[in-house]
């Protein structure tokens, strides 16, 4: 499960951030909550993924002040929104194909 999750982490992070800009801890909490606890990665692994997505131009980030604390907040760029649409489409194609194969052999 963990390896499969890591392989799709970029898509999941983009989707979480499509709802609203968030800092790293928020992203992890959202992933855990939305997956009913199934997606329980080592929490620190979200940061290399965020840096990678930012370097690819899909996210942008800024330090913001929240309740007196500085936090690095990430948000989707226009390119990131387009990439999310494309990655969602690819994911649906993939799951449909896998479902068809598994359904045929059940």
């Amino acid at each position: 499960m963990k390896e499969r999750l890591k392989g799709n982490l970029d898509l999941l992070i983009l989707d979480v951030l499509a709802a609203r800009p968030a800092h790293g801890y928020d992203v992890i909490v959202s992933l855990r909550t939305r997956s009913d606890g199934a997606f329980d990665l080592p929490e620190g692994t979200v940061y290399p993924a965020l840096y990678r997505l930012e370097a690819s131009g899909l996210l942008a980030s800024n330090w913001t002040s929240e309740s007196g604390r500085r936090r690095r907040v990430y948000a989707l760029t226009a390119t990131g929104r387009a990439a999310l649409v494309e990655q969602r489409r690819q994911w649906h194609e993939f799951t449909t194909a896998v479902g068809a194969v598994l359904g045929a052999s059940a």
Partner: protein, 254 residues
């Protein structure tokens, strides 16, 4: 006295590689994260020390996190955008060939590719060109016909190579989980693009102006065709750069 978060941050710091700013940023985000996780642990009923230990355990091994942060994203960060720019540059040369071909087809062979007034040609070259261009009446006409065919062929070849480079770059981008568009529209790519194409446009248009002024326009078309395409590419990259740079301050207000 045990301080799991401080100990963890010490371990992480000595393992991180990169610029001082990047290391400070990673440590600061990790520290924020660990304190948030500790606060959540306390809210769930753990005692503070236990919550700190749980937060550190949940964050992951410092070696693993540092290794992932240190992984050089050379392809994503540098090679991908550079390949996209190279491909776009080659395609721009190909497009300038299309413009030059239109000028030639419209009867502007001399305007497009002729040598400057008073150009002389070695006898050996003349013999070769006349053999290649049997319909040419003299050496100057043969030289012009050779310039037209060679000039167009070279530009079209560059354009085809550019399309191949862009196709290969798009494939590589997909394998990296991103897209050619993402690499081509990064702020840094746009800034390099506007600078390179802008400088090329200025130089090429100046050469064209020089040919108009000194040689009555003979051969000016080759410079104007390339300069015009370079100027359009520079304008496109400038628009991308402005749009991408505007996105950054907008985030601060969200």
């Amino acid at each position: 006295m045990s301080a799991p978060i401080e100990d963890y941050l010490d371990r992480l710091q000595v393992r991180l590689r990169g610029t001082p700013r990047q290391i400070r940023r990673t440590l600061r985000e990790a520290e924020d994260h660990l304190h948030d996780a500790t606060a959540d642990g306390v809210a769930r009923g753990l005692d503070p020390a236990e919550a700190e230990r749980a937060a550190v355990a949940g964050f992951g091994d410092a070696d693993d996190i540092a290794r992932e942060c240190n992984t050089p994203h050379l392809v994503r960060g540098l090679l991908g955008p550079a390949a996209a720019l190279l491909g776009i540059g080659l395609v721009a040369i190909g497009l300038s060939g299309v413009v030059a071909a239109i000028i030639v087809a419209a009867g502007g062979r001399t305007f497009a590719f002729a040598d400057h007034v008073g150009a002389t040609y070695p006898v050996g070259d003349c013999a070769h060109w006349l053999a290649q261009q049997p319909t040419a009446a003299n050496c100057a006409q043969a030289a012009l016909a050779e310039s037209v065919s060679d000039g167009l062929l070279q530009r079209f070849t560059a354009g085809v190579l550019g399309l191949i480079v862009l196709a290969a770059t798009a494939y590589l981008a997909r394998r990296q989980g991103t897209s050619l568009r993402s690499w081509a529209t990064r702020p840094v790519t746009a800034l390099v693009g506007v600078t390179a194409f802008g400088a090329a446009a200025l130089i090429l248009l100046a050469l064209g102006g020089n040919a108009v002024q000194l040689d009555g326009g003979r051969g000016a078309g080759q410079w104007f065709s390339a300069g015009g395409v370079a100027a359009l590419a520079a304008a496109a990259f400038a628009a991308i750069a402005v749009r991408r740079l505007r996105e950054l301050p907008a985030l601060a207000t969200q």
